[in-house]
Each structure stands twice: as C-alpha cells, then as structure tokens.
Amino acid sequence: MELFVQNIINGLTIGAFYALVALGYTMVYGVLKLINFAHGDLFMWGAYLGWAGLSLVALLGLKQGVWALIPVVILVMATLALLGALIERAAYRPLRSAGRLPPIVSALGAAFILESLARNIFGASYKTYPGWAEVTGSITVVGGVTVGVMQIIALIASLLLMAILYLFVNYTQVGTAMRAVSLDHDTARLMGIDVNRIITLVFLIGPALGGAAGLMVAVRYGSFDFTLGWTFGLKAFIAAILGGIGNIPGAMLGGMILGAVESLGAGYISPQWKDVIAYVLLVVILLARPTGLLGERVAEKL
C-alpha cells in the first residue's frame, strides 16, 4: 500500500509536467489541426534556457538560492513564448492553406532545427542544474510515504499555471475567441475575431507553459541532454489524446493519468518498460474511447 501511494504521488508530479506540455499540443491542435512536433523541443529548450539562466545568476555573483528560480522561470517563459510565435509565423503560417502534409513536414523540420541548435550551442553532454537551486528536504506523509518539498512546489506551480489558463480560456473574451477559433475559423472570422492573432496567442501560451515544464522537469531530475524533448513530447501528446484532443481540462486529466499509470507500471512491472506502458495505454484508449476521456473539441474538416 505504501509503495502504491508513493508511486501515485510521484506519478502525479510527473503527470503535472506532462499536462503542462500536453496543453501546448492540444491548444495548437485545437486551432490548427496540426501536431506541432516542434513543441517537445521547445520544452527541451526550456530546460536549457533555465540552466543558462541559473548559470548566469552564478556568473554575475547574484544571490544564489531557490528564489533565483522565479525570475529565471519568468524569463524562460517569455523567451519561449516569443520563440513559439516566431516558429508559427515563419514555418506554419505560410502553409495554412497547403493541405495536411506540408505543415507536418515543416513542423518536423522546425524540431530538427531546435534540436540541432541545442546540441551545437550547449554541447552533447548532460547538463546538471546547480545544487543551490533546489529545495532539499522532504515531508513524510503517512508511514513510509515521503514527498520532496521541491516536488510539492513543482506540483503547486503546475496546478497554478493550469488554473490560470483554465480561467483565462473560459472566462475572458479572448479565451472565448480562442474556443471559437478552434471550432470554426471562418465563422469566427465572421464574428469579428482576428483569427491570426488568436493563433499567435496560442503559440505564445503553449510554448511558455512547455518551457516552464521543461525547467521544472530539469530541476526535479537534475540532469538532461538535448534528446529530452522527443520522448517527453511524444508522451505529452499521448496525454493530450488521452484526455480528448483540443480539450484543455482533458489535457490536464490525461497528463495526470498517464503519469500515474506510468509510475505504477515502473514500480510494479519494471522501469525499463515504462515508455512501452505509455504507448500501450494510447492504443487501448484509442480502441476503447477514440475521442478521449473528456471528449475531443475540434471541428471536423470537411
């Protein structure tokens, strides 16, 4: 029982990160029907930029400590938001009316570019976050179940970001416009919505959340390299499908479930089959409930 609870808690933490990244996939898919293959690499860039930011803090002799993470996170999110919007403008917008295949190839190309840049700028070796950026210590919940303080902070931060996004999408005018665009571009345009601006906004928000997730994943696991984006990104996309593609609460739920199932699988079966469990879960969901747990929210292209 202790092992079970411990695995669930660990799973929910990683699940919150999946959820943050899945939001970027699901929002883009919602408005463009495009699997944004570059998103996983933007997430990976979040980890690198966070590392660079913290190194800069140390280099400038600023006050070292956990609190330094806050400005770094904000800067990382802002940088990635701009990068995401730039990629949309340069690689996706010219292809808006080119059918389904060209944007996919363009997205894969953008992913290659991001990965190659990371490898060449930061090097192919593993990067490690400085120890001072981490809160050590853990809390014992019940019996042998312990939760790291950092884990709790990351979980709360993720949930907070998701809550803000949820409120934004559901209770503001711009959020309503965003939902309208994901239903139907033409009708949204007739209603006076600037579709291009909404799409740019989606590409600002998604990568910002993904970047925050990248930084938190790197803090939690300590080290990473430029291949971080691909597997994690794929699993986050699976989380988005799990919850129902285009569905924002669905992406959050899907991420949490995927994290928990994966963690349980790693604990009870074997860690080396962890990834396979996620992929099998995808197939099972598609067979049993192809629209995802909470239903998909995208308009069919006719």
Binding site: A91, R100, L101, S106, A110, L287
Partner: protein, 325 residues
C-alpha cells in the same frame, strides 16, 4: 534550366524510366565503392519510401513508423539466420509476410479514426518495437548492441558479397517495385485509393470498402519496408535497434513528401535530397540535422507540392478533370 526541367517532365514515361535504369546500371563503372555504398543506401531508402508512397501518397494515410517495419524485416531474417540457420533467401518471404501481418494488426483497429491518430499510433508502434529490441525481448534481439554475424544473401550458390553485387541487387528490387507500384496505381485498387484519399465519404457511398482498401495499402507499404530491412541486414551483417529510430521514419516520410506525395520520380529526388546530399555534406557534422530541418521548412514554404509533384495529385488540386491534358 527550368525549361530543361519542364522538357524532361513532358517526356513520356516510357523513355524516362529505361534511360534512368540504364544510367543506374552503368554507374558502378564510374563511381568508387564509397559513392556506390551511398547510392546503395539511397536505394534502401527508396524501397522504404516506395512503400510509404502507397500508404501516404496513394491512400492518403499518415504513417510515421516506417522504420519499425524496416527493423522488423532486418531482425526477422537475422534471428532466423543466427538461431535457426535459415538462409536469408528463405527468411526474406517470412520477414515480408510478418511485417505485412503486423502492418494489418497495427492499422486495422484505428483506420476508421481521424488520420492524425494513425500518425501517433504508428509513432508509438515504432517506439514499442525499438524498446522491445533494446530490452532484448525473449533474449534473442541482443539488446542495445544488436546482432552481428548475419549471413549474406546467396542464391543458387551465388553470394551477394560485394558492394557492386549488392548495388545491382537493390537496383533490381527498386526497378521491380516501381513496375509493381505503377501498375497498382493504375489498377482498380489504385483508383479506389485515390478516391478514398480525395473524398472518403463519397468513396464509401460508391461502394468502395474504404477500411479494406486502406488496410491493403498499409500491408503492402509495411511489407516493402521489411524487404528493405532484409536487404540492409544481409549486406551490413550487423544490426542494432538504432535502425528503427523515429528519425529514420521521419527521413522516409520526408522523402515522400519532399519529392512530391504520390509521385514515383519524386521518391528518387527526395531520396537524393534526404540521403545522398546529407551524406556528401558530412563535413558540416553536427549542423547536418539542423540544415536538413531548415531545408525541410524552406521546401515546404516555397514548394509545398514537392519537387516533382504527381500529375494525378496536381490535377486534383487544380480541380481539372483527369485526362484533360
């Protein structure tokens, strides 16, 4: 230059293909073994891409796991050869049939779903296959190191043991596949694929068994990838799970789309761009992937229909009736 290109395009297929074949047969005279090996590699990719042309180009399905079927082909003959002593030539049909069957099993349950789901499931399938190979399933795949010491293909005592022989073997396979694929495109099945790709609802209303024809495309495409894997394993004789990487699937996918979806000459141009050029540009080293990525983005922006668009697809896009040219 552009004029010349257009003129080449207008030449009837019956002149272009034999001329191309003759050139391919004469190349070993002019090239050294290294360049020949590069072309052999391109030939392997062309075989995979021809399979994917059926799936993506003709039937309009997204498949991003072609490397998995390639790896299945390579590992099947390798395991049969190393553990049971089955010669490659007997393992070949087994590998091809196995990959076809797996292609059916993977695609059949999700063919009626949204196309992007198929893309994601094929990616996931590719990763599952790679993980199975890395984790040394049943203790026969050799784990991350892979397998070595695979026999070379030999037929009636004639062993394909040099790069020249293997080059001709691949050229022969590609030529036969081209003939087969071309005949398929113009068959009743090929027309059904086009119909399904352009308008699935209408196709179904006209009595086309859409799920069935899509599954057939998937099976044929997977089988061709497996054939490529067999040829690869029997020349290199050493294989590792890396051959099933997602990157390989992406390369094959890009060959098809960059060349022009559904276009057979496009496959050759695509393979040249995605396999031969990067190989010749090895000196850019770590920047190679990034440059390939940049080329992919630019290509799609400036020539979204590909280098040599399929005539049929182009006609459909421009809305003209087929055969009106």
């Amino acid at each position: 230059m552009r004029d010349l290109f257009l003129r080449v395009r207008r030449l009837p297929g019956r002149y272009v293909s034999p001329a191309f074949l003759v050139a391919a047969l004469l190349l070993p005279v002019a090239l050294d073994n290294y360049l020949l090996a590069v072309l052999w590699q391109a030939g392997i990719y062309i075989l995979m891409a021809l399979g994917l042309t059926i799936i993506v180009g003709y039937a309009g399905l997204f498949q991003l796991g072609q490397a998995a079927f390639y790896a299945i082909g390579a590992y099947t003959v390798a395991i049969l050869n190393l553990y049971l002593g089955v010669p490659i030539i007997l393992g070949l049909p087994i590998a091809v049939i196995l990959a076809g069957a797996l292609g059916y099993l993977v695609s059949r349950p999700i063919l009626h779903l949204r196309g992007d789901y198929l893309a994601i499931v094929t990616i996931a399938f590719g990763e599952i296959v790679r993980m199975l190979l890395v984790n040394n399933v049943f203790g026969v795949t050799g784990g991350a190191n892979g397998l070595s010491g695979i026999a070379q293909l030999s037929l009636f005592g004639f062993t394909f043991d040099s790069i020249v022989k293997n080059y001709y073997l691949v050229v022969a396979c590609v030529a036969l596949t081209i003939i087969g694929v071309q005949r398929l495109e113009n068959s009743r099945l090929g027309r059904a694929w086009t119909y399904v790709r352009e308008d699935e609802l209408a196709a179904e209303a006209m009595g086309v068994d859409t799920v069935h024809v899509k599954a057939v495309a998937f099976v044929l495409g997977s089988a061709l990838a497996s054939l490529a894997g067999v040829l690869y394993a029997s020349r290199i004789t050493v294989i590792s799970p890396d051959i099933g990487r997602f990157l390989e699937s992406v390369i094959v996918f890009c060959i098809v789309v960059l060349g022009g979806t559904g276009s057979l000459p496009g496959v050759f141009l695509g393979a040249f761009g995605m396999v031969v050029l990067p190989e010749l540009f090895r000196f850019v080293k770590d920047w190679r992937d990034g440059l390939v990525g940049l080329a992919m983005v630019l290509m799609m922006i400036f020539r979204p229909a590909g280098l040599w668009p399929s005539r049929r697809v182009a006609l459909e896009l421009s809305g003209a009736e087929e055969g009106e040219t």
